[in-house]
Symmetry: C2
């Protein structure tokens, strides 16, 4: 069997990670601030990076907490805001780890359909009118994981209005925002909320620097950030100061902008190759081409058994994630293709194998 | 007021951190294993560092989990083994963050007196005979925080025997073991247990590399490590791969051994200066000179109001941590002096200020 081509993992291929830039940033971090990089620091994160993020978002440093990756930020936020039995709205489909994390806390997870322009706000309104009172709505607004869809500006306003009317917090989970390769950047709900306190925002450097650096952050009200900082202190004293100092130098020395340009160019090429290959090899697949991010959601004809396709694909050396992993029920004919980790050269071959696997499924599909 | 001299914080002064060695290790990490350092990795930690630690401890890699600092390891372990209402034995006094962490989980914390040769095993036996059935006994065997005391070999055996008889786990929390500057290294309880499954061991690179690198680890049974790895995956996917890759190169390139030699020499000098200064300036203080680690416990005459001393000391520009912070009750005449963060030049002046503060207390002490 040939080496497996993986459309499964949402991680960048090494060719789009700026390893030389990271080496330089590490030197720079130890040279500029040896005491800060090597000392304990505090739970709010490495102070110069916190200040840089705050400035980038136009908020006070007291509104920012820098964590060991944004998953850790999510975990702290859920611990702070979600009690067992609380209703939490998520998109259908949504990131599997978010589902797992909420269910692990005993949340009453309410999935609301995701459309190509974002969550179905009419369906959400009906849910709210029906009496559900969520503590939180978790939304991935840009190039959603797993669907690749982006929430329209109109729906951003509509969501905020519902949050105001029904008194829930919007958790705007936005790790992909910086890697838009087509279309125009939309205002974040945090910006549209204009300090109204209805939005907590999270993002990450995993997609713009590298995942192994494990640096994410939260932006919220000073009170919420202070409460989460207390949790963080009790959990780990402080997050990784060395890694955050490296990210800080990478940002201020220009590495970040260079890296984002590299990543965008590569992902734009990959999505173009991927959609062309699907149209050619597997025209039964329907999808919306993403304008950024790592992922594309694919629907196969009703009745297609994607669980069987998964096995048939594995036999032919190609992997993906089944759509059912991102849902509580349904989606048996869907899958997620990640194009972040496949080089341009692998895409045609990977899709050809996928199409062969599809053709090999029992005709009763 | 002069700059404050801090005997408060358990952190190294910058002069004993090998910043040049860390810079070199960072270069080496990105050069040797760019993919491993920059990629997500998994929750068990950076694989080459995990293997290095396993070899150092003579265990299988499956028995090791590398975390974002050992506090995070403690948190995972408590989440795994301690339910609300469970009895947990700790030393009296013990590390304040451990107390906080256990009480935050609703544990029934049972403090057992700490003697100069470690926990009072007779008092522990009485507690057990009285019907208390702890889930866990948390023990800092070497150069305990806050007392600086070391558990004798005889008591290590006695503790293990009690753990076997009464079916509890010994949590051997051992971050200071490598920085012994006098006396002989004792076998760990994990070694003495010889795979009996009665001990979970934790240590850290905070005291041998630097705190800001936030790398700690657990050694336990493969089953326990696998269970904690699942928690870690759900919390943060993976710990910091960049930082762990740097630590790995620091270890294999010889930086660790050099750093330990530097730290030991400095701490030995500092403890000698500190005890000489106390004997000269504040002979009312009684203490046991530590053979390693960062901390020394000081008892002042019965009736001394250390809370008042704390304020009087702050006015004179010297700080420490009150003994009461490490206890649930009592200890009003005790304090912890950390000598890790004060340079040799500061010690005489710091103790002189402390003695002045003591002399200034109301005579009714």
């Amino acid at each position: 069997m040939p080496d497996t081509i993986s459309f499964a993992r949402g991680a960048p291929s090494l060719d789009i990670v700026d390893v030389e830039g990271l080496k330089a940033a590490a030197q720079s971090a130890f040279e500029h601030d040896a005491a800060g990089a090597t000392g304990y620091g505090t739970a709010v994160g490495y102070v110069p990076l916190r200040a840089w993020i705050a400035e980038r978002h136009g908020v006070a440093p007291e509104q920012v907490l820098v964590t060991n990756g944004s998953m850790q930020a999510d975990a702290f936020l859920f611990d702070e805001l979600v009690r067992a039995g609380d209703a939490v709205v998520v998109e259908k489909p949504t990131y599997d780890r978010t589902l797992l994390s909420l269910r692990g806390r005993g949340a009453d997870v309410r999935m609301v359909s995701l459309e190509a322009d974002g969550i179905d706000v009419d369906e959400l309104r009906e849910l709210l009118e029906g009496g559900v009172r969520p503590a939180l709505a978790h939304i991935i607004p840009n190039f959603q994981n797993p669907a690749g869809y982006t929430l329209s500006e109109a729906k951003r306003h509509a969501l905020l209005a519902l949050a105001g009317e029904y008194g829930f917090t919007v958790f705007e989970d936005d790790p992909y925002v910086a890697i838009r390769f087509s279309g125009e950047t939309l205002p974040t709900m945090r910006e549209l909320d204009a300090g109204g306190g209805r939005v907590v925002y999270a993002s990450s450097f995993s997609k713009t620097v590298c995942p192994g650096i494990r640096v994410g952050y939260l932006v919220g009200s000073p009170e919420l950030i202070a409460a989460i900082a207390r949790r963080a202190t009790n959990t780990y004293i402080s997050p990784n100061q060395v890694a955050q100092a490296i990210v800080h130098r990478f940002c201020v020395d220009g590495g970040l902008d260079r890296s984002i340009a590299t990543v965008k160019a590569a992902l734009a090429e990959r999505v173009a190759l991927l959609t062309a290959a699907l149209d050619r090899e597997l025209p039964e697949a329907s999808y919306v081409a993403p304008e950024g991010g790592y992922f594309m959601w694919v629907e196969l004809p009703e009745g297609t058994d994607v669980a069987a396709l998964f096995d048939a694909a594995a036999e032919r050396g190609v992997s993906f994630v089944k759509g059912t992993d991102f849902l509580l029920e349904g989606g048996e004919n869907t899958l997620r293709l990640a194009y972040s980790g496949v080089t341009a050269a692998q895409i045609d071959e990977g899709v050809a194998r996928l199409a062969q696997a599809y053709r090999a499924l029992p005709v009763a599909r």
